[in-house]
């Protein structure tokens, strides 16, 4: 199969890439990084760009480094497997590497990128929940300059984000944490090559057996990744116990807004939220970020 025809540009800098995004009046311009989302859509005929701007030459987007006072800076062009095998990331937030390892299958993980995973804004995407609970930020670069916003504010609906048509997502920052542990659990119908039926991420700050702070994010149970804020509030100040974690799961279940589809019914998804919220909290409390 061949794709429909389009023009192709491979800019050498972010500035040049931004310029291409606005220099073709009335034409549909699409940024492509790994291509694992855009190319299938083009094959299905649901996306028909006139111009493709490839980010393959932007090596500045392929770094993962720890910057003192800032946190771990992940270039948007890193593939899922770059995250899986990153020593910088594994050393601090194994929970993020592990979330990346649950994505699709090996071949797709070698091509698809973290930037694409975020901007595609698929409700079942695996990286957003864990990045949300770790309070990650994203940087958008456009002709008007840069803006940094919490990743939680990026998502506007299924396949919709707040990024402007002339902006590029360049980096994701996981700031230094007060949170003492984090974990992402994915429930899917197979171990590989399957979308999340439900994804739950939790981060906790525990001191002396007391939960000082908690953040919970739910994937695949709403039009965007959600926060289970009532469950978070409930947990604050509580002593860790099976009962408390179970109750947090019950509350999170009421905050999910799942739909029924061929993968699972809404009721089943809601119940999975209950179970995996409890498990994610427990894991993060017991294992730190080593998840």
């Amino acid at each position: 199969m061949y794709l429909p025809d389009f023009d192709y540009y491979a800019p050498e800098s972010v500035e040049e890439a931004c310029k291409y995004l606005t220099s073709f009046d009335g034409k549909l311009v699409k940024l492509v990084n790994g291509g694992t989302d855009v190319i299938p859509k083009m094959k299905h005929g649901t996306l028909t760009p006139d111009v493709i701007v490839s980010l393959r030459n932007l090596t500045s987007l392929k770094k993962i480094e720890y910057v003192k006072g800032k946190g771990i800076v992940i270039g948007a062009g890193n593939t899922h497997n770059d995250l899986v095998f990153s020593e910088v990331l594994n050393g601090k937030y194994n929970s993020v590497s592990n979330a990346a390892s649950t994505m699709a299958a090996n071949q797709v993980r070698h091509a698809g990128t973290i930037g694409g995973n975020i901007i595609s804004a698929v409700p079942s995407a695996d990286l957003p929940p864990i990045l949300i609970v770790l309070n990650a930020t994203v940087k958008f670069v456009g002709p008007q300059g840069e803006r940094v916003l919490p990743i939680e504010e990026v998502f506007a609906g299924p396949s919709k984000t707040v990024i402007a048509p002339d902006e590029i997502l360049t980096e994701i920052v996981i700031p230094d944490q007060k949170m003492t542990g984090s974990k992402y659990y994915k429930f899917a119908l197979r171990k590989a090559g399957a979308l999340a039926v439900v994804g739950v991420a939790a981060a906790v700050e525990v001191e002396g057996g007391v939960i000082k702070d908690a953040r919970i994010s739910l994937g695949a149970v709403g039009p965007t990744p959600l926060r289970a804020k009532k469950a978070e509030e409930f947990l604050k100040g509580k002593k860790v116990s099976e009962e408390v974690l179970a109750e947090a799961g019950e509350i999170a279940k009421t905050e999910a807004k799942p739909i029924s589809d061929f993968r699972a019914s809404a009721d089943y998804r809601a119940d999975l939220v209950r179970i995996y919220t409890k498990r994610a909290l427990k894991y993060a409390i017991e294992n730190g970020h080593n998840g």
């Binding site: 192709y8 491979a10 190319i39 299938p40 094959k43 490839s54 699709a104 090996n106």
Partner: protein, 171 residues
């Protein structure tokens, strides 16, 4: 690398691309819509790489790009400009089959053939990185390759044997 192109007599842009495939460097003029799988099969006539689902689910088009297994149906040939690619045709160094190919034959790991080219390349990528994988690691290594005959057990045995490890008869 900057992108060079010409405009042909039909007004269509044709881009210059250079890709090293199985040790030989090929430079071609292609349209932007040419996927790596198209490039290998139609430009180079290396039809060992199969096209199955075309959307990155089945893995039958797997090739090794700069040392990593990827789906050649999901990447533009232009995005592979300057890259090194290994296809199933590059597995055997000479007239003699590679050890992985030999073990696939020996263990009946080839049935209809739909998955074989991709399965072999995922196995090659796995064993290059991890010469003595455990069964779980083998299963993870081929988890992006679907065998329509469901002959996974023999494939796992073949890869185990190719790695020089003892093949369990427990299945």
């Amino acid at each position: 690398m900057s992108t060079n192109f010409i405009i042909d007599k039909n007004g269509m842009k044709r881009y210059l691309v250079t890709i090293k495939v199985n040790g030989t460097e090929y430079t071609k003029l292609i349209k932007a819509n040419c996927l790596l799988s198209n490039f290998l099969r139609d430009e180079l006539e290396l039809t060992g790489t199969k096209k199955g689902c075309e959307i990155g689910d089945c893995g039958s088009c797997t090739v090794i790009l700069n040392g990593k297994p990827i789906n050649s149906c999901l990447i533009l040939a232009l995005d592979a400009d300057g890259a090194e690619v290994m296809t199933v045709e590059g597995l055997a160094a000479s007239n003699e089959l590679d050890i992985i190919q030999k073990k696939f034959l020996e263990y009946g790991a080839i049935q209809c053939g739909y998955c074989s080219a991709g399965m072999l390349m995922s196995a090659k990528a796995l064993l290059t990185k991890n010469p003595k994988p455990t069964e779980d690691e083998i299963r993870a290594g081929i988890s992006g390759n679907l065998c329509r005959c469901t002959g996974y057990i023999n494939i796992i045995k073949a890869i185990t044997a190719a790695s020089g490890q003892e093949v369990s008869d427990s299945h």
